[in-house]
């Protein structure tokens, strides 16, 4: 090796050493930024949960002005703010039933729509459907609420008349269910579309090469490969159903007692309870909304755990 070559080599080594130390410090800085972002997100969750929990628990403590019995709160079947009766149990049931049926309606429709969009519809139709779903997802809750209280309630009224039931102007559990089904449909659909798009083509080819028809391939292989993502969509959708307050409060009617299984009866959900008259009230009636918030968070948590368990069960075998 000539001395020139040696020199240039040394030079390169020197330079790359410098550059490496530069990269290292950039790496470190970026790592710090990422950590910070992660920490911020975690902090927000902790703060919200902490704040709601502290405010929500205080009404049950003896130190509170006019303490509410925790047992009566958790098992109560009546919610009479005017009489100081706060029983959340029937509200939980109403919430679960409403969200469950909304999911029951929306889930299959969403799954089939997603399959249609990705696998069956010709390109143009598929693009149109995608746009429709995106638009549906972008409509604000309050618009859904106005629509529901004007249109859905009228339809429900007709249906009720058909069965010789009376409703309170169509405000009812059925109206809330239909409204929520429409609202969560785009959420679940768009998640399912992503999941179905991600199914590797090799699975489909494998199925077709085994003499499966298109339909068999779509249902047995494509949907089952996309299961995880579709269930994630269901979790998100039900989360929206549990958490939707504005629109639901426009058709639920805020029943005083319950639970009800009659679809034409008024209902009260956790969110509507928290929202209704929030700004016109003080004292126990105000503070107890935080307690309802804790219950709502717990309901959502258990719901997610349950769906995950269900998914695991479906995934592990037939």
């Amino acid at each position: 090796m000539t001395s020139e070559q040696q020199n240039s080599k040394a030079l390169i080594r020197e330079r790359s050493k410098k550059r490496r130390s530069l990269y290292k410090s950039v790496d470190k800085a970026m790592q710090f930024v990422f950590r910070f972002c992660g920490l911020l997100a975690a902090l927000m969750i902790i703060l919200i949960v902490f704040f709601v929990t502290v405010r929500g628990i205080q009404v049950f403590l003896p130190s509170y002005d006019d303490p509410v019995s925790l047992r009566e709160f958790l098992t109560g079947m009546r919610w009479r703010t005017d009489q100081g009766i706060y029983g959340v149990f029937f509200i939980v049931i109403n919430t679960l039933v409403t969200a469950f049926f909304a999911g029951l309606i929306a889930f299959p429709l969403s799954t089939l729509s997603a399959l249609m969009i990705v696998k069956i519809a010709p390109k143009r139709l598929s693009n149109i459907l995608t746009t429709v779903v995106e638009l549906l997802a972008a409509i604000p809750s309050v618009v859904y609420g106005v629509f529901a209280s004007g249109v859905i309630t009228a339809i429900v009224k007709r249906i009720a008349n058909l069965f010789n039931y009376t409703t309170f102007g169509g405000n009812s559990m059925l109206a809330a269910i239909l409204l929520l089904a429409i609202m969560i449909y785009p959420t679940i659909t768009s998640m399912a579309v992503v999941a179905i798009r991600a199914v590797p083509e090799s699975h489909e080819l494998g199925s077709l090469a085994l003499g499966a028809s298109r339909t068999q391939t779509n249902f047995k292989v494509v949907l089952s490969s996309a299961k995880s993502g579709i269930f994630a969509g269901l979790i998100l959708g039900l989360g929206r159903a549990f958490g939707e307050a504005t629109a639901v409060s426009m058709v639920a009617g805020n029943a005083f007692t319950g639970p009800t299984l009659n679809p034409f009866n008024l209902v009260r959900t956790l969110t509507t309870t928290m929202l209704q008259g929030l700004h016109e009230t003080v004292g126990t009636d105000y503070d107890i909304r935080f307690s309802v918030g804790i219950v709502l968070m717990l309901v959502i948590l258990f719901n997610n755990l349950a769906i995950n368990a269900l998914r695991r069960k479906i995934e592990s075998g037939d």
Partner: protein, 259 residues
């Protein structure tokens, strides 16, 4: 009409004057080949010469490629497989396929092997159990999976997955199994297992295999066809192709002068 002598009983396929186009591009040029029954036929040739394309003709997987257009005839026994009366689904149960990348479905080992039969409407658990067992045994996988048939197939090793895919193809008792570079994603041990398996399988099945490995073609095939730029240059007994080829280009390819 072609004379009936072309459609001899000892052939699984007879291909006459086959041209295949992807849009304007001609990928196969005037292919004439007879695939003998219960033999292993190997397709060799440099990348892009049309081996996979020809292989996909036999179970009409090219139907799925929008731009693909076929001229010419492919006889399976005495039926032309593009004929109106031919049901593609039916054809694919008779002509199975194993892909380059193992592609087990994300479900249990059992369900993978039972899939084809279930699609044909078989529900009887006893029949399914039996077919799953015999297929896995034929694919030399039974001993390794018999204790966890309910495990997800994607958890198997690559070589096991490929044997599972072979079992899946066998489950429909096809006449022909098409294999497109079935060992190219596998390590040498898994490869030799599959090669042994192919030699075993040719007792019951006609096998057409695409391979880039000269030694593999020489080891396991009875007949070898050499392709170049969409043309079939030479087709003969494997021994002749490898030791005494008629065409200079075949010799060059086999001796590794290009590829």
């Amino acid at each position: 009409m072609r004379q009936q002598t072309d459609v001899k009983l000892d052939n699984a396929f007879v291909v006459n004057d086959l041209d295949l186009y992807y849009g304007d591009f001609q990928a196969l040029k005037n292919i004439n080949i007879k695939i003998p029954l219960n033999k292993v036929t190997a397709f060799i040739g440099p990348s892009g010469c049309g081996k996979s394309t020809l292989l996909r003709c036999f179970n009409r997987m090219n139907d799925l490629i929008e731009s693909a257009r076929i001229e010419g005839e492919i006889y399976h026994h005495d039926t032309e497989i593009h004929g109106k009366e031919v049901d593609v689904v039916q054809l694919r149960t008779v002509v199975g396929m194993v892909f380059q990348q193992p592609n087990p479905f994300p479900m249990s080992v059992y369900d993978n092997v039972a899939y084809g039969l279930r699609c044909q409407g078989v529900k009887d658990r006893r029949i399914l159990d039996e077919v799953v067992e015999t297929s896995l045994k034929q694919a030399a996988l039974w001993d390794e999976v018999k204790d966890h048939l309910n495990r997800n197939a994607t958890k198997l090793s690559g070589g096991q997955q490929q044997r599972l895919c072979i079992a899946r193809a066998i489950s429909l008792t096809p006449e022909v199994i098409l294999m497109d570079e079935p060992t190219s994603a596998l390590d040498p041990i898994a490869t030799s297992k599959i090669e042994d398996l192919i030699i075993e399988l040719k007792k019951s099945y006609t096998i057409i295999i695409v391979t880039h490995s000269m030694s593999q073609a020489a080891r396991i095939s009875d007949m070898t066809a050499f392709f170049l730029l969409g043309e079939m240059i030479e087709y003969d007994d494997t021994d002749i192709i490898f030791h005494n080829p008629a065409d200079q280009r075949t010799e060059d390819y086999i001796s590794g002068k290009f590829g």
